[in-house]
């Protein structure tokens, strides 16, 4: 799996949290490689380690053991300050609760990463407006969060994540706080951005959301128990017929024959692989 062209390369990453007397194994010997332009969903129940994995990928956390490289740079060798610079340049974060500043207008939210990138004021305003246009909110640039709907707020957050042209967009339950309709709009936006070349990692517990990705990593007990790839299926603006087809696939989820979950054998196979590499 290790290739020099990989955007992200994780080898035997383990994360142990100390909680009082007990050690919690949040990430157990995970190896993962993500190439430029992938569209990945990480799925798992709460406590499965998907948040820990995301924090490590997002350079907010470092593995206790193992190696994590982003664009060939070993995160373990970098200072806090260098990690901050990498987060600023390489990674765009989208959160479940949007995490917008309460009193700033949309374009000021969007330009925030550029403040830390030492981009000039006029340049950052221009780029923030561009990013807002990219998410379809050009005419809302001067609105504050309280004047925007939930879906619009999340799109502002996505504009903020995009503004410094990151290599990787990390979304943590991006539709978790939205209703189905606006959640669908946000997913459509993600897919449009992916088609434009953005590398996308979405962390979710919602199988329906995960199903739309090209590659699904399923986590349990701190390990990746399956890593499946599927052909591109969804496009942004589906014609009514394929929309129905998509719905059909959703309905079919309950039918064992159509379940996209890896077969028990496949899981065993992956587990074997992990065991062997360990």
């Amino acid at each position: 799996m290790t290739t020099s062209s990989a955007l992200i390369d994780m080898q035997n990453a383990t994360k142990i949290y100390q909680m009082g007397e007990t050690n919690v194994l949040a990430l157990n010997n995970v190896s993962l490689s993500i190439a430029q332009g992938e569209y990945i969903a990480i799925i798992g129940t709460s406590g499965s380690g998907k948040s820990t994995l995301m924090n490590i990928i997002g350079l907010l956390d470092r593995p206790t053991d193992g190696v994590y490289r982003i664009r060939g740079q070993n995160a373990g060798d970098l200072t806090d300050s260098q990690l901050a610079d990498l987060r600023n340049k390489e990674i765009g974060f989208v959160f479940q609760q949007f995490n917008l500043l309460a009193r700033a207008s949309a374009w000021r939210q969007a330009e925030l990463p550029l403040f830390y990138a030492n981009v000039s004021r006029s340049e950052s305003r221009r780029r923030a407006l561009d990013a807002l246009a990219q998410v379809g909110l050009a005419e809302r640039a001067d609105h504050k969060p309280e004047e925007l709907s939930g879906g619009q707020q999340q799109r502002v957050a996505i504009a903020r994540a995009l503004v410094n042209r990151p290599s990787l967009l990390l979304a943590d339950e991006p539709t978790g706080a939205l209703d189905t309709q606006t959640g669908e709009e946000v997913m459509a936006l993600f897919e449009k951005l992916h088609q434009e070349g953005l590398t996308l990692v979405i962390v979710t517990h919602d199988r329906e959301i995960a199903e739309r990705a090209r590659r699904v990593l399923t986590m349990r007990d701190g390990a990746i128990i399956s890593d499946t790839r599927q052909a591109a299926a969804q496009t942004i603006e589906l014609p009514p017929a394929s929309q129905a087809a998509a719905n059909g696939r959703f309905n079919g989820l309950s039918q064992p024959a159509l379940t996209p979950l890896p077969q028990p054998g496949a899981i065993a196979k992956v587990e074997e692989d992990i065991y062997e590499t360990a």
């Binding site: 997002g58 907010l60 806090d80 300050s81 610079d85 600023n88 830390y116 410094n164």
Partner: protein, 414 residues
């Protein structure tokens, strides 16, 4: 400049909590205003007294009876009546005292002055004609006592304006008659209003020939057969010769009083210069004392700032987590909060300066209040410096707390 952009962030944050920021600033506002006002009052009063003292002549020396020892037990000034008219006569000899130009004896006490049905209690000084010159007395009407009146012990009196208006209801009273102990005195002069109610004013004084005061009015005690005096004023030839004059007077008096080499002086010589020094010391000590009490309110204000900044950091935990996730370095977070508390205290300091200027204007508009509040540039610089220092000092701990937040925990914070 990135640093300037933090000021924008700080102003935004302060503006979004106007009430809280205002209350927090209040501590600094009050502290700065109190320190500046007290400093201003101290400096104003001191400048006022100093100008008053130096307007009375800086060449004057005053000899008082009794000893004031600087290194041992101090006898109360005036407790031993050892200065006499004989001393005055010797000191008046210019051959022995080349640097002393005029010597003026005084015998003073409080007494009642009566005119018609009015009476008033005044400070009465028996003296000689040169007193007016040595003490820079100015007359509004008439003249001061003459040499002839002194030697003939005439029943004449020079009074201050307050005395004149108390007794006659008007200041033009030359030629009128007043009574002391039933004895009539003719008013020959009225002093100019000193315009200064506090220090060295003669508005409530009267002056009569010294012989009259020692004899008929106060029945002064005698010492070795000569009338005693309550003090002697002398004028030095010039400001530079004041010290020389002091030595000459001291030598003569020690000889005349038969003091041995290791005896302390049984008199005290004070000069205007030493008086100025004393006043300076007293006012600056007082100012320092009051100023430090006021500075405590600044400290309290600073602690208020720290408290609010800690609250602000906790409240914005999630924002800090977000900023870190978006690429803020620890130094960025530190500067953001440090500059926020700096802006708070600087703003408070500026408002405090404004208030103390307001108080200064108010003080100037009070009638009969003779000194103004002096706010000088160094005090302004100090006020700004201290408020900025307060912001940095008390903002530092909360800002460090902010940088230490773990971004993962901070983002999860609700």
């Amino acid at each position: 400049m990135k640093l300037l952009r933090y000021f924008r962030v700080a102003v935004d944050s302060i503006a979004s909590h106007k009430m809280r920021s205002g209350l927090t600033m209040l501590g600094i506002v009050i502290g700065v205003a109190a320190v500046l006002t007290i400093l201003g009052i101290g400096r104003g009063a001191s400048a006022n007294i100093l100008s008053e003292v130096s307007s009375q002549g800086t060449t004057r020396l005053t000899v008082s009876p009794g000893s004031v020892s600087s290194d041992g037990v101090a006898g109360a000034g005036g407790s031993v009546q050892t200065l006499t008219m004989g001393d005055v006569a010797i000191l008046s000899n210019p051959d022995l005292h080349s640097d002393v130009t005029q010597v003026v004896p005084q015998y003073g006490g409080n007494t009642q002055l009566v005119a018609g049905s009015n009476n008033t209690q005044i400070r009465m000084t028996g003296t000689t004609a040169a007193y007016a010159d040595v003490h820079n007395l100015k007359l509004a009407e008439g003249r001061f006592l003459t040499e002839d009146e002194i030697s003939q012990r005439s029943s004449v009196i020079v009074i201050g304006t307050t005395v004149a208006t108390d007794l006659f209801g008007r200041p033009q009273v030359v030629g009128e008659s007043v009574r002391i102990n039933g004895e009539p005195f003719t008013v020959v002069g009225v002093l100019k209003k000193s315009g200064n109610a506090e220090f060295g004013s003669n508005d409530n004084s009267g002056f009569i020939p010294i012989g009259v005061a020692q004899g008929r009015i106060f029945d002064a005690p005698r010492y070795r057969g000569e009338y005693t005096v309550t003090s002697i004023s002398a004028d030095a030839a010039s400001e530079e010769r004041v010290d020389a004059a002091e030595r000459q007077i001291e030598q003569t008096l020690r000889l005349r009083h038969g003091l041995a080499a290791d005896d302390d002086n049984d008199f005290t010589i004070s000069t205007q210069a030493s008086l100025l020094e004393t006043i300076n010391t007293i006012t600056s000590t007082l100012t320092l004392l009051l100023g430090s009490i006021a500075a405590i309110s600044l400290l309290v204000g600073g602690i208020g700032i720290m408290n609010i900044m800690l609250v602000s950091v906790t409240e914005r935990t999630k924002e800090i987590g977000l900023r870190k996730a978006l690429g803020a370095h620890n130094s960025d977070v530190l500067l953001q909060f440090l500059i926020e508390s700096l802006v708070l205290t600087l703003l408070g300091g500026l408002i405090g300066i404004g208030i103390s200027y307001g108080v200064a204007l108010l003080v100037q508009s009070i009638p009969n209040f003779n000194f103004s509040l002096l706010i000088e540039n160094d005090a302004l610089a100090m006020a700004l410096g201290v408020s900025a220092g307060c912001g940095l000092l008390f903002g530092l701990y909360p800002a460090i707390r902010a940088t230490q937040l773990d971004p993962i925990e901070a983002l999860r914070y609700e």
